[in-house]
């Protein structure tokens, strides 16, 4: 008997150690439960309300619960698919937009969804509180609700419908008025215990472990959602996601949770697929930010020389392992509506870079160096740091001595965007579907110090500022697009910053997951048609 007890105790202890060492919740019936999708999540945002925080980290889980008026689409009209709104129309003067809303939609708590919710969200949350809504709805004055399924947005100044359309998937998450009205919105408990109209309800959140999303049986989409449950399992270690996929502990890892360097290997594992589609509307741009206060860098010849010194092919092939594209200008190719290829380009040419620097009057000194620069690579991605290492070497080849300075995120942002303590910085800004709310911020003048991810390099170009201001008020889509084409030409000619490459994320999934990456912001869309093949 003693022996039996002893061995059982040992076994239990060993089991306990094993559990503690992995420290992961085990979903014992993971495979048997049929329609449960388990996804790797790498962060746990404090505020889960996408109407307030329009960021990918929040959208990743919250977009399944709280829906926008429209979602991005590969083949829909204007690149949109209807969600809570079924149609939208702008007036000729650009001062009003009319949304027709979907009928028969219910909140997760059973109350009906009406135009009052949209009006409340727009005026009380999107415009005053949301990081991006502030820009898009800056001139929003009122939202009229003639009936329960119509919302008319009234603007004090012309606001282009093109901009609103492009921003809709990101800025228009609707939250229930009946839970927010009369409360302090920022601290409302519904910011964590989300109540939405989406295909899934947030039913459980265990900090450090997982989010459980359960099927919404009353969802307006016919036959949707197809999954019974989605588990977002928190796996902060990037190396862990690949192993968890191989062990079938998770079925999907989005947002490049599996590092680029591991993709070649994991793509050969049977039952696993690597997908680079589905991030077209979430394009990151690799940008060299320039401090124009430095005398040398204020000279356009020096900036052109730096552009010629960078081998974009090396950056794409070696740093991004081919999962990126070389940039030509400030608008990525993934935005075909605006993209203009006919801009000046800078081929990799060390001799020409050297000649330009000589011409600018910065001859090589006795030690082969022309001048010295402070280079600050952003620490957010491995790739930005590696590009920093590369850029230092590329500049050394043309006689510019770049001294790297590494810092954590907070110190980097303070040094670059508040203190301007940099000569060159490497940043990964996001292209958000419309130049008015993304790339123009990096070159426009007059932005106060301290605004992160904006033009803090002291660059000022009146002509460019004029075009940006005019485009912000131009209602006619064709004329507005033409203005942004001019904008691209000027930026590519004058080089207030240097666009090097653009990239999206990678999804790695098991073969059983279906309908993956079927829209341009798939990872942050509602997944109502995602299914599991048994």
């Amino acid at each position: 008997m003693t022996i039996a007890t002893l061995s059982r105790r040992t076994l239990l202890q060993a089991g306990g150690t094993l559990l503690a060492s992995t420290a992961l919740p085990t979903f014992a019936i993971a495979q048997g439960a049929g329609n449960r999708l388990i996804v790797a999540a790498d962060s746990e945002p404090k505020n889960l309300n996408p109407a307030i925080v329009a960021s990918n980290g929040v959208f990743f889980s919250a977009s399944k619960v709280v829906e926008p008026l429209a979602e991005a689409s590969f083949d829909g009209k204007d690149g949109l698919a209807p969600r809570l709104a079924t149609s939208w129309e702008g007036s000729a003067d650009g001062k009003s937009v009319t949304f027709k809303l979907r009928e028969g939609v219910k909140w997760h708590d059973g109350k009906p969804f009406t135009s009052a919710d949209v009006a409340y969200s727009a005026l009380n949350i999107w415009k005053p509180l949301q990081n991006l809504g502030r820009l898009v709805f800056a001139n929003l004055e009122a939202v009229d609700t003639p009936d329960a399924t119509t919302a008319v947005f009234k603007f004090s100044k012309p606001t282009p419908l093109q901009l609103i359309r492009n921003a809709l998937p990101v800025v228009s998450s609707v939250v229930p008025k009946h839970l927010y009205e009369g409360t302090d919105i920022a601290t409302n408990p519904a910011n964590v215990k989300l109540v939405g109209t989406g295909p899934f309800k947030l039913t459980e959140y265990k900090p450090g472990e997982y989010y459980r999303l359960t099927r919404n049986a009353d969802y307006w989409g016919k036959g949707e959602p197809k999954l019974d449950e989605i588990i977002f399992r928190v796996l902060p270690d990037r190396a862990g996601a690949g192993a968890a996929l191989e062990a079938e502990e998770i079925q999907l890892a989005a947002f490049s949770a599996v590092p680029l360097t591991d993709l070649a290997r994991i793509s050969k594992v049977p039952g696993i697929k690597v997908i680079s589609k589905g991030y077209e509307a979430l394009t990151y741009q690799l940008v060299v930010e320039i401090n124009h206060r430095r005398k040398e860098l204020a000279d356009v010849k020096v900036r052109q020389a730096i552009a010629h010194a960078i081998d974009k092919k090396f950056v794409v092939d070696t740093i991004f392992l081919g999962y990126a594209a070389a940039s030509t200008g400030p608008v990525p190719k993934n935005a075909p509506e605006f993209y203009d290829a006919s801009v000046p380009t800078y081929a990799f040419d060390t001799a020409k870079a050297n000649a330009l620097l000589d011409e600018a009057g910065y001859k090589k000194g006795a030690n082969g160096t022309r001048f010295s620069l402070k280079l600050r690579p952003a620490p957010y991605f491995n790739e930005t740091k590696q590009f920093g290492d590369y850029l230092r070497q590329a500049l050394a080849a043309v006689g510019i001595d770049a001294q790297l300075i590494n810092a954590d995120s907070a110190a980097h942002q303070k040094a670059v965007y508040t203190d301007h303590d940099f000569d060159l910085a490497i940043g990964p800004p996001v292209f958000r579907g419309d130049p008015a709310i993304s790339t123009t911020i990096l070159v426009r003048s007059g932005i106060p110090a301290g605004v992160p991810f904006s033009n803090q390099g002291g660059y000022e170009n009146k002509e460019l500022d004029g075009i940006i201001a005019k485009a912000a008020e131009t209602v006619d889509t064709a004329a507005r697009t033409e203005l942004y084409k001019q904008f691209q030409k000027i930026v590519a000619t004058d080089l207030p910053l240097i666009n090097v490459a653009e990239w999206g994320f990678i999804t790695v999934a098991r073969d059983t997951v279906q309908n993956v990456s079927n829209n341009p912001r798939w990872a942050v869309s509602n997944w109502s048609d995602t299914a599991l093949k048994s």
């Binding site: 190396a239 590092p259 360097t261 591991d262 070649a264 290997r265 070696t318 740093i319 620490p379 491995n382 740091k385 590696q386 920093g388 290492d389 590369y390 230092r392 070497q393 050394a396 001294q403 790297l404 300075i405 590494n406 810092a407 954590d408 110190a411």
Partner: protein, 276 residues
């Protein structure tokens, strides 16, 4: 000289000294063995080791020569390790000597400061120091020294406390020698040997701390270090383990060398003290 002879006579001392001498040579001649910036991109990325005679240990993610990195890394590691240990021992000796010799309130005060530094884990102290001030070689040296000076300070104080009661110190006092002269000419030389034996351990710890700081991205990004090489290799550990293994081996060899040297030194010193 006799110390050196004693040292070489112990097997640990001989091996340790041999390894350290070899590493010193590599560090000194790294610019000759592989000229130019070791962080230069020179070849195709991720060349496996032992395939191309131009890159005997292969290349890393960006196409930098791994061998060049290891050779130049020796210089960084040894320089930082020695400088940090030197700084730590200098501070420790001064503080310990002052505390032990002065006694009283000065002793109490200084020892409480030493306590404070001993309580905080030295690696955390270095981490905080570097992340606040910014990473560069002198800052890293200072950060490591800050966490390492407390031990030699305590040891020196204990030595001084015992030595200052000896007869020859009393006679020096009687003949009217200046207290500072007594401290530096009579007490310090005799308090030094055990502290020196400790120094080798401090060097080894300093080399490891420097590698750990670089591994966490808090080293100077403009010089190559073994820690940063291991950190960069970590991302592709499963496909190219050699990128982390080679600098790891270099680190192990160095630290083992320093430890053996320290063992030998301790033995040599104790055998010398046993002699009349």
């Amino acid at each position: 000289m006799r110390l050196l002879r004693d040292l070489v006579r112990t097997p640990e001392g001989a091996i340790g000294l041999g390894i350290l001498a070899a590493l010193m040579l590599v560090a000194l001649f790294a610019p000759v063995l592989s000229p130019g910036d070791p962080l230069r991109i020179t070849g195709r990325a991720l060349l496996p080791p032992f395939t191309d005679p131009a890159f005997p240990l292969g290349t890393d993610r960006l196409g930098r020569d791994v061998l060049a990195g290891i050779l130049h890394g020796t210089h960084t590691s040894l320089a930082v390790g020695l400088a940090a240990a030197l700084a730590a021992i200098a501070i420790g000796l001064c503080v310990g000597l002052t505390a032990g010799f002065a006694g009283g309130l000065v002793d109490e005060g200084l020892m409480r400061v030493v306590d404070a530094f001993q309580i905080v884990p030295s690696f955390l102290l270095a981490l905080a120091f570097v992340s606040v001030i910014g990473a560069s070689v002198p800052v890293v040296v200072l950060a490591i020294a800050l966490g390492a000076w407390a031990d030699p300070a305590r040891l020196t104080r204990a030595q001084v406390l015992s030595i200052r009661e000896r007869d020859y110190v009393a006679s020096a006092r009687v003949i009217g020698m200046h207290p500072a002269e007594i401290a530096f000419r009579e007490i310090l030389p005799n308090a030094l040997p055990p502290v020196l034996a400790l120094s080798a351990i401090i060097v080894a710890a300093a080399i490891l701390t420097e590698a750990a700081l670089s591994f966490l991205g808090l080293g100077d990004p403009n010089v190559v270090t073994w820690g940063s090489m291991i950190a960069e290799g970590r991302n592709i550990l499963r496909s190219s383990p050699s990128l982390s293994i080679f600098p790891g081996i270099a680190l192990v060899v160095t630290v083992v060398g320093v430890y053996l040297f320290s063992e030998g030194l301790t033995k040599a010193l104790s055998s010398r003290r046993l002699e009349p």
